[in-house]
Symmetry: C2
Subunit: 339 residues, 2 copies
């Protein structure tokens, strides 16, 4: 049984997309799960009424599993990350605070990413053994999806931080993807341990003695393949600059290739989209901010109702699997390895 | 009229692939151009005989435009870059020396990339105004190809070096792609000038006052699109770590997507390959090492004869357009802007 707080005011298509996503999620999820819609009560109620009397007319049964939590303020997409501290009554801050108070099991937002990161850090706090949180994104591959982290929380990372990311990324792969003893690669520009920049070279050495199932350096080509020459990959670790560039690059490749193909193969749009389903980010919903004490799922600002539904499902899965406690225990084991 | 020196001993499929590529190139190129096959004379002669009496039986007419230049030593793929200094009689060193001596107009190799970079630096030297050379690669996009540099010569770059790369990348876009006043983007994790790591933020400021047609920061998604929200892109500047990861990632995306599609759409291999022609790296041949005084084209170790042919064509184009002198003049203008 999980209670997921949803930022009803966050994202380019709020409040419709998150609230419709909540209705879709409740229809799919076990009846024990519930959703807390956080935001301006009047706006949420009006949107709910509109959706339940229109496109979601069949969803009235889900209404009882929806709670509205008032939050009068809204953090705009253009606000600075620290705005979350200045607006404790914003949907972002209130939604996260519910979890800190033990009244919720996870938080999902498509709002201002910087503010969500800052708020998660301030309100939930960091696990012992972490110096920065990381965004963990799933990359579709020719094999199974790979967890790539950090995909944008930090522009520069130390070698020790890359090791932290490897530890928590492995737990994510275990708990949410069902991988056993996840295989970890360090993104670099050559397989040999001496290839890469100074941080990567140091991280390679630290990871080799980390007790993790470390495969060594991997290259850009290994991500779409889903494996290196040394075997399948579950987790790829990199700094947030490289990870963010790659993520945005990959997101744009599917529509680009679709456009090129539609011409060359004279595909209709529907067939092309079907073929590219595995490359569609809406399927993956959102990316957890790992390392904070709790569940905080970051969704794309342009998230559709379906993307929000998948993000909520991911929050439920994270809460139900106990991923957060698991991360805490794993980091403590990591501290012992170091000691 | 260009004389191109070709490393006949370099690459996974040498000597056949480079020599067959030379025969293909001569068949396509204007009769004024010639190729210098650099390597072990006996090996080259035997390979030429085999090819001309077999698959390339129609190529006997090209024989007169091929010169064999003896180079008894070979640099292995596993050799360190500095080996090129210890093996002055290697095909790599001899081929580059021809150009330094004014006896050749360009050099092409699919051999050891590190050795080619080191050799180009030692033997050809750097242009005034450059502190490091950069590898310039063409990325296919939904619009026109984009020049991405550095795609692997340097793991860390200073802000000033990123500006140097922008200058020489623009000349490449003008002379080899025919772009007018090329539009330059700086790869970062957000469009705003304050987004990115310390080097990128500084480079943004330097580029804004460089006199170049600088569009500002661009994101990973803008590369496959071939444009940012501010317009079409011709050149994208980044450090060699990010550039190399992206390049290898992109190279692997085409086969991966092809594999996914072949299943989903039940495409036969030939149709899929045809559709993905624009994403095929063999079409683009090789990537010039820009910033050195001369033409040095780096080809993939796995280059086929067709890829080598295209690399040779690129060397001819670079030589004929006077790109090297153009780069020298442009860098001198850049020094004046700074002064």
């Amino acid at each position: 049984m999980a209670r997921i707080a949803l930022d009803a005011m966050g994202g380019d298509f709020a409040p419709e997309a998150p609230i419709a996503g909540a209705l879709q999620a409740l229809a799919e999820l076990d009846a024990a799960h519930s959703i807390q819609l956080v935001g301006q009560t009047a706006v949420i109620e009006a949107t709910l009424s509109k959706l339940l009397s229109g496109e979601y007319a069949g969803g009235a049964g889900q209404r009882a599993r929806l709670e509205i939590i008032e939050a009068p303020d809204v953090i705009e997409m253009t606000d600075k990350p620290t705005t979350v501290r200045k607006k404790p009554e914003s949907s972002m801050a209130v939604g996260l605070q519910l979890q800190a108070d033990g009244r919720s099991d996870g938080f999902v937002s498509a709002g201002n990413t910087g503010a969500q990161m800052a708020g998660s850090l301030f309100i939930l706090g960091l696990h012992q053994g972490m110096t920065r949180p990381a965004i963990a994104t799933l990359f579709p591959t020719a094999r199974n999806p790979i967890v790539v982290l950090d995909s944008g929380a930090n522009v520069d990372c130390s070698a020790a931080e890359l090791v932290q990311f490897a530890r928590i990324g492995a737990v994510y792969a275990e708990d949410l993807l069902g991988r056993t003893d996840p295989s970890i690669g360090l993104l670099s520009i050559g397989e040999e341990p001496e290839k890469g920049n100074a941080v990567v070279k140091e991280a390679n050495q630290l990871l080799a003695s980390s007790g993790l199932n470390f495969q060594g350096n991997v290259e850009g080509r290994d991500i779409p393949r889903g494996e290196s020459d040394r075997g399948p990959l579950d987790v790829v670790v990199c700094d947030g600059f490289v990870g963010n560039v790659l993520l945005k690059f990959y997101e744009a490749v599917a529509p680009t290739v679709m456009k090129m193909l539609a011409g060359a193969l004279k595909l209709d749009r529907e067939t092309a989209q079907k073929a590219f389903g595995a490359l569609d980010y809406a399927e993956h919903g959102g990316a957890p901010l790992l390392g904070v004490k709790g569940v905080s799922i970051i969704s794309h600002g342009r998230s559709s109702a379906r993307a929000m539904k998948n993000a909520i499902r991911k929050a439920v899965q994270a809460a139900e699997s106990g991923m957060n406690d698991h991360i805490g225990r794993r980091l403590a084991e990591g501290e012992e390895v170091k000691a």
